[in-house]
Symmetry: C2
Subunit: 232 residues, 2 copies
Amino acid sequence: MTIEESIRRHIEARIASGEWRPGHRIPFEHELVAEFGCARATVGKALAALTRAGLIERRRKAGSFVARPHVQSAVLAIPDIPAMVEASGKAYRFELRALRIAPAADGPPELALLGGKGNALHLEGLHLADDAPFAFERRAILLDTVPEAAAVDFVGESPGSWLLHQIPWTDAQHRITAVNADRALSRALDISPGLACLSVERWTWRAGRGVTFVRQLFPGDRYDLTAVFTPS
Amino acid sequence: MTIEESIRRHIEARIASGEWRPGHRIPFEHELVAEFGCARATVGKALAALTRAGLIERRRKAGSFVARPHVQSAVLAIPDIPAMVEASGKAYRFELRALRIAPAADGPPELALLGGKGNALHLEGLHLADDAPFAFERRAILLDTVPEAAAVDFVGESPGSWLLHQIPWTDAQHRITAVNADRALSRALDISPGLACLSVERWTWRAGRGVTFVRQLFPGDRYDLTAVFTPS
DNA sequence: CAGTGGTCTAGACCACGAA
DNA sequence: TCGTGGTCTAGACCACTGG
């Protein structure tokens, strides 16, 4: 247990118990220095961590205050599909359904967000768990940014995994919605038409240049996303 | 631009450009100290931030390395519904549909995760935007933890907002799924039966004690969640 | 065993912003 | 104005762990 950690816990406990309500001014740094008998940098590190966690807000000259619980935000884990399938003890396989090279402008409108101008590799495929459909994926990879994708054989290998190992992304944006399975999707996933599916769309950039846009569709009854918020 | 920030950017740029691939050993702290002519604590702060962002991994005696891009994780914003409605310029209203006090054990099975034993306030209601249904919500509030909830008049006020201002939570867990609207839901939201809806479930604790479990259902075509990942 | 990162100290200067 | 937090320095000790 570091000193920093004990300072953090000390404050967290008072906030959690309700002893210090939102808006309450917590002790000044120099008071905590006196209370814990440590250097100011150590107190500062603890308070910085609490600030990052959203538990307190700090204002120069005024002090540090218990934050009013703001808009919920949480850390969402979006595992890649092969890892997810294998974690459940099943055999993963990717089945390529379609592949073509065409101008990015010919792709879905969502591609525009990536800002790509040249050609893109458009592909469709199915993620299988023990040979049963697990998710359907439609993806575009901008060949301006990832020219080597044109030469890759995606039969068997998930394009997401290949990209992940090839092009570390630096920015990503996700959009999560619910959609009814249309006829094509219900056939691909072997589910009844109209079944609610979770749609996860992801835009990926590296150093400001668009890399890929993908839309993955999961049967609503076979998949869910979980997110956890815990301070510090 | 602080020194810490310039060190971070220096390293981020090299990772983003692909110059330093995953697994590459970045300079030792003492080398960066020499390069930037600053104190070791400053370099340490920059590298700690990069570690938190998941861009590098650090091992004692071995050094710091560019992280292999791991399982995707993102920060998901889950705004509370009144704020969301008002942000879109519409008038918010909450319509209470049902309310009863009963043992927590009589509630949905998900309630068990909260670990509550005594009575709970069970309520159902509708979030309205300009008097049009926006989301349906079913909630249980553990009266052991929040006894004052029994006396509140939730007509007009969102119970989520009331709780947020009353009981700052310290831990929360979310589950996001897609479901088809059943008959009751389609009537409540005024949508066609079977329409795909986004279900957001949230468990909330304060200092280890369960506070509330809520399930909110949004028509899939009127709502989506977005999540953003950006390093540092 | 030797060198790394993890933590800490006891100072310092400064910008901001509440009073 | 002047106290606060934000940032930084130049040291120190230590636990861990790779070679």
